[in-house]
């Protein structure tokens, strides 16, 4: 089932009653999520991701705009009639019910000709539990499970009614680092097996990049960019997206275009054909440099961190907006830590230039 959002807007009245202006949590969103894909909805805290999820699930009604599941307009439908499964951030498993009862809970709500017998419910619950590999713990209460197992139960409960769309709210935020890696693979596997269109919300770009078919980046309720993770990473449309994606983060410099050339400080970096003179930001991905003693960009060397196959060069530059810059180079490259400065050549594909005022990308 594809999901289409048309001019979706959600405003909340301001808490401070003196301010008449509404808070706009989601601002004029348009996009189409293809059928059967895993979509990561990505943005910093408070950017309206969860509101977005609530709108799609029907827990909130939009101020303006429409939501379509396939060809059906579901904007006015209550959550239970939309055919969605929702996994909450803290799972919201009923603590007094066993795993089996928790998974069966949505089935027991069915009425009329959809009503199932007890045996059918048990069978379905077991099937779903097997899918998420929790079937060995059917008689346990949620408190007797680990965080990762609880997460699986929550997913099973969301899946048992075979929803058209599965929504996950920060699914991994309550898990420790190891479990997070494991669980995200698990979510990927379950999504592949069920082929249910899945939207998950996260503020962790690594999480979104690693398992999503596509990511949607948002900021302050506004749509920024949508695309395959690598595409968005390689071709960010503005400075925010460039900064938000990638660990370590992109290194940003205050730069200038002068006489069709790009300068960082006095250093001439590259040509900027057919571009008028202006102030810009130049972003260089950490992996976007090649060590070269005669390179064009020179920074003050702070320290060198060797981490197995990579070497992380920590340095500073007067023109950088980051306090420290971090570049990653292959470990074969030797750097003398006693050196005061370090110089690089820059890979053109890893260099992104943004207008200083609009922060939109400028193609070189």
């Amino acid at each position: 089932m594809k999901v289409v959002l048309e001019h979706l807007t959600k405003k909340f009245p301001n808490r401070n009653k003196k301010i008449k202006e509404d808070v706009i949590a989601v601002n004029d969103f348009n996009f189409e999520i293809p059928d059967g894909k895993l979509i990561g909805l990505l943005g910093p805290s408070g950017c309206g991701k969860s509101t977005m999820l609530n709108l799609i699930s029907g827990l909130e009604t939009p101020t303006e705009g429409k939501i379509f599941f396939g060809e059906d307009d579901v904007t006015k439908l209550p959550p239970e009639n939309r055919g969605i499964g929702l996994v909450f951030q803290n799972y919201a498993l009923y603590p007094h019910l066993t795993v089996e009862k928790n998974i069966m809970f949505p089935l027991e709500n069915l009425k009329g000709d959809k009503k199932l017998t007890k045996e059918e419910m048990k069978k379905k619950a077991l099937e779903t539990a097997k899918l998420v590999q929790i079937d060995a713990y059917m008689e346990r209460k949620p408190a007797e499970l680990s965080g990762g197992q609880q997460q699986r139960v929550a997913i099973a409960r969301a899946l048992v009614k075979l929803p058209k769309v599965l929504l996950l709210d920060e699914p991994l935020s309550n898990l420790d680092a190891r479990l997070r890696l494991q669980t995200r693979e698990e979510i990927r596997r379950i999504q592949r097996e069920t082929k249910i269109t899945t939207i998950f919300v996260t503020h962790d770009q690594e999480e979104a990049m690693s398992i999503s078919d596509m990511i949607v980046v948002m900021k302050d309720g506004l749509f920024q960019q949508m695309g395959k993770p690598q595409e968005v990473y390689n071709e960010p449309v503005n400075l925010f997206v460039a900064k938000f994606l990638g660990t370590p983060p992109i290194n940003v410099f205050k730069a200038k275009i002068k006489k069709e050339k790009l300068y960082i400080g006095e250093a001439e970096i590259c040509d900027a054909k057919n571009l008028s003179d202006r102030d810009v930001f130049a972003g260089i991905r950490p992996e976007g440099v090649i060590l070269n003693p005669k390179g064009r960009l020179t920074c003050k060397l702070d320290r060198v961190e060797v981490m197995g196959r990579d070497t992380s060069v920590v340095c500073t530059n007067d023109h950088a907006t980051n306090d420290i810059l971090r570049f990653i180079i292959p470990a074969e490259n030797k750097i003398d830590e006693d050196d005061k400065t370090v110089s690089f050549d820059i890979k053109p594909s890893k260099l992104h230039v943004f207008d200083a005022k609009t922060e939109e990308v400028i193609k070189l």
Binding site: L59, P79, L86, A92, Y94, H96, F105, P106, E108
Partner: protein, 296 residues
């Protein structure tokens, strides 16, 4: 290690001292009194030991009346007050405007003096030679004759006592239940909503189990409190509860000690221990039931 132990005992000493003097010793003394026959308060002498005191108390018509009154009071008021408190809490929890106002209103009886409340009930229920109580005016308006709720038939007096008791214990229960309801995580309700759960099912399958520990707590303390009823009856019917036929077990114990017919600590002790054993048994039964019914 030894030094540490000494230190620990030193820290515990004040508590042990006070608990020992004011709790443990009197408790033991009550037990001793209850087995001393023919104890004389003035000369501090007794004839022998045995279970005569218990036998006397259990054959005393006043005691049996008090026992009956107390049991009726417990059986009627505990479930009713808990049930009504739950309904009011649910209503309070679901309204938004004036929520705080209503919460305050429902909490007022808790901070009001028992005797002042007793006065209010007099105005409501008392029928005198000169005036009818407010309730009687209502009854008259409906075309029935007046009932004397304070000096009249037994059921009328019991009715007033029950209403009074329920009204008195309600605020505390509402307070506990509204906070219990408020502490149920909103996400459970959202999850239930997404799954299309009906309101009734949400209440019985989610809300009730979630607040069951609090309900259970209220039932146990409610039982204990109702068994200890005394001041409410005094507020309504005055100190001579035996004459009114509305005495309670604690009232009987008090009368045996200090009342006009008092001065019998042995009988009082025996009655107190009978009361204790009843409360103890019921609490144990409660705990056993709750093991199966109360979740987590």
């Amino acid at each position: 290690m030894k030094k540490n132990n000494l230190k620990a005992w030193l820290y515990l000493l004040p508590a042990i001292l006070f608990l020992g003097v004011f709790m443990v010793y009197p408790l033991i003394d009550v037990l001793v009194y209850s087995f001393e026959e023919g104890y004389n308060f003035a000369s501090q002498e007794y004839f022998g030991t045995g279970i005569y005191n218990y036998s006397y108390v259990l054959h005393d018509t006043y005691f049996l009346q008090a026992l009956k009154n107390t049991l009726i009071l417990v059986i009627i008021t505990v479930p009713l007050s808990t049930g009504i408190a739950l309904l009011i809490s649910l209503a309070l929890n679901s309204i938004k405007p004036l929520k705080n106002f209503f919460q305050t209103v429902y909490f007022l009886p808790y901070v009001t003096n028992t005797l002042a409340v007793g006065l209010v009930f007099m105005v409501l229920f008392k029928k005198t030679a000169y005036s009818e109580g407010l309730i009687n005016l209502l009854i008259n308006a409906l075309g029935f004759s007046s009932v004397d709720f304070i000096d009249g038939p037994y059921w009328a007096k019991m009715l007033v006592t029950c209403i009074y008791t329920i009204w008195i214990v309600m605020p505390f229960k509402i307070l506990i239940l509204t906070s219990a309801l408020a502490s149920v995580d909103e996400q459970y309700y959202k999850a239930a909503k997404v799954d299309g759960t009906s309101r009734g099912r949400i209440f019985f399958k989610i809300t009730l189990p979630m607040i069951s520990p609090m309900i259970f707590y209220l039932v146990i303390t409610g039982f204990i409190g109702a068994f200890k009823a005394y001041s409410d009856e005094v507020a309504l019917f005055g100190t001579d509860l035996n004459a009114a036929g509305m005495n309670t077990m604690v009232g009987y114990v008090y009368d045996m000690l200090y009342g006009d017919s008092g001065g019998y600590p042995s009988y009082a002790s025996a009655a107190a221990l009978i009361l204790f054993s009843i409360v103890f048994t019921i609490t144990i039964i409660n705990l056993l039931i709750s093991k199966n019914k109360v979740h987590y």
